[in-house]
């Protein structure tokens, strides 16, 4: 347990950002643990039939979500009930999933691994498969000073990789750091954003990390009541976790069930599609009015949240050198 890696990594908090919620003292970052987590993230060994990896539904170039798929896809072409969320800046969250079902980043991966419509596997079996792999024994040894894959180590290594997925280098960030300037259109869009959107999509994370009902009528095929399924409290009916808007250009389709394909559909919803209900977010009780020019300006601002350094960072990409051997069964 006292094993200490020689290649400790310091987690850098972007300037003027809040303190991360993740307790790094319980899982100090190291290069070899991050690398192990990265291999696990891209390895379909986590799924029952060794076909689906985390990256299957969370691909880097679309901000770690599943572009063009409204609902998540799993083993045997099974389809889930929610849109796979974009993954970034996870160290600042203290609940995960659209309904906040998961209470810690370490435990997040257990949900898709075990869900029959996602990876359909047991964490017990995952660790047995990893223990049988010579390659993983070596990676675990490098990371933990012991070649044994346990649930704790597997999950902590995956957290380490996911914690490194920080997006803080968009044009918006450069403007805030006074290294770039908005165009007139973007600047006008920023003003509109601050007036109409920022109470839920709060800067700098572009989410207030809360659960809100954003006025979507219930999809009658899914009957998903969101947060209420977890708390069993009617006051939480139809509330879903506010997603970040960072990299929104690439993270379509939008909403918890991926019902909107384009940003224009989203703006149309907020300006003329709000479905009234008891739990509707207070921020939406007054109608949002945007002219068509204003919608264009707001969209121009939203596109400044694209972070190409994040989308193409080679440290986040498929670890080509490493994945080669598969268990033989």
């Amino acid at each position: 347990m006292a094993f200490k890696s020689l290649e400790d990594v310091v987690f850098e908090v972007p300037k003027n950002w809040p303190k991360p919620k993740y307790d790094f003292t319980k899982n100090p970052l190291s290069g070899s643990k991050i690398e192990l987590g990265r291999v696990l993230f891209y390895d379909p060994i986590l799924s029952k039939n060794n076909m689906i990896s985390c990256a299957s539904c969370h691909s880097q170039f679309t901000a770690f979500t599943h572009v063009d798929h409204s609902l998540s896809h799993g083993i045997d072409d099974r389809i889930g009930t929610r849109n796979s969320p974009a993954l970034m800046n996870l160290a600042w969250h203290s609940s995960y999933m659209w309904d906040g079902a998961v209470n810690h980043l370490d435990m997040q991966a257990l949900a898709p691994i075990s869900h029959p419509d996602e990876m359909g596997e047991k964490i017990e079996t995952v660790t047995l498969k990893l223990q049988r792999s010579k390659q993983y024994r070596s990676l675990f040894f490098k990371a933990f000073g012991d070649s044994m894959a346990t649930g704790e180590r597997t999950l902590k290594a995956m957290s380490q990789f996911m914690l490194t997925l920080v997006s803080a280098n968009s044009k918006y960030d450069s403007v805030i750091r006074k290294q770039a300037q908005f165009t007139i259109q973007e600047k006008n869009g920023y003003t509109l954003f601050q007036k109409n959107c920022a109470s839920c999509h709060a800067e700098p994370l572009f989410t207030n990390l809360q659960f809100e009902n954003n006025g979507l009528p219930v999809d009658t095929t899914l009957h998903d009541h969101g947060r209420m399924n977890i708390t069993k409290n009617k006051a939480d009916s139809l509330k879903f976790k506010v997603p970040t808007l960072r990299n929104i250009e690439f993270s379509y389709p939008y909403m918890h069930d991926g019902r909107f394909k384009r940003l224009s559909d989203v703006l149309k919803h907020y300006t003329s599609g709000i479905h009234q209900s008891k739990t509707l977010s207070k921020a939406l009780t007054n109608k949002i009015v945007l002219s068509s020019n204003e919608k264009v300006d707001l969209t121009a601002f939203l596109l400044t949240l694209t972070d190409r350094k994040f989308l193409f960072n080679p440290e986040y990409s498929f670890p080509k050198k490493i994945i080669s051997s598969r268990p033989k069964d």
Partner: protein
């Protein structure tokens, strides 16, 4: 070299002092069904019903020894998964300083809320132990699975998974028992007492924190007792 020798002597002395001043207290858990020892895969009469237990697993945590109402000793890092299918988990041995006097043992049945939000943990708390809810984060405090003739489910199966760490479904319960002997305590838990209060024809699946789990957790905390008989 000389200081090394002194440290060596010190370690030897300290070890022998420690060896003299610690003693072992055994906590032995004995699952019962009424008056019989509970064995897995064996049918027991329950009123008009007949039930069989396939799995009995639960967490004991936060063990404290008390004298009257004062805490005499707290077990560090106290988390134990008790599993009837794995006999050695039924016997816990506590290594305590020999000067400690106590008349009572107190423990939690389940896992406390701060541990529940502490991320991935190892040992008995490793999520590979099958006592963790993946789709609504949290430990399962107590798991009882089996078959009942009155269960109209597939294979007459029932599964009672009790847990929950957040209000209003905070289902951690504390058990306090007076113990007579200073060396060991035999702690019985009578599963019949729990099942007698459940209508298995109606209530056969509890698999998330909910109001039903609250009721059963409360009853569960009452089925523990000290057995006077020798083990």
């Amino acid at each position: 070299m000389r200081s090394g020798f002194i440290i060596f002597c010190f370690v030897i002395c300290a070890n022998s002092v420690l060896a003299q001043t610690n003693k072992t207290v055994g906590l032995f858990f004995i699952p019962l069904f009424g008056k019989s020892d509970l064995k897995l895969e064996q049918y027991y009469k329950l009123g008009v019903d007949s039930v069989m237990i396939e799995s009995l697993r639960f967490y004991i945590s936060g063990i404290e020894l008390k004298e009257k109402d004062k805490v005499a000793w707290i077990e560090p890092n106290s988390f134990h998964l008790i599993d009837l299918a794995n006999e050695k988990t039924l016997d816990l041995s506590l290594l305590i300083p020999s000067g400690i006097h106590f008349t009572q043992v107190k423990f939690n049945l389940g896992i406390d809320s701060s541990t529940n939000v502490s991320g991935a943990l190892g040992g008995d708390l490793d999520p590979t132990k099958g006592m963790y809810w993946a789709w609504q984060s949290g430990y399962i405090n107590f798991k009882l699975e089996g078959k009942s003739n009155i269960c109209k489910t597939r294979g007459n199966e029932f599964q009672l998974h009790l847990g929950g760490y957040q209000a209003p479904f905070n289902n951690l319960r504390t058990v306090s028992l007076n113990i007579a002997s200073a060396e060991k305590a035999v702690i019985a838990l009578d599963v019949e007492q729990l099942l007698r209060t459940v209508d298995l024809s109606q209530q056969h699946h509890i698999m998330s924190p909910c109001a039903e789990a609250n009721v059963l957790s409360e009853r569960l905390s009452k089925i523990f007792s000290i057995q006077p008989n020798e083990k």
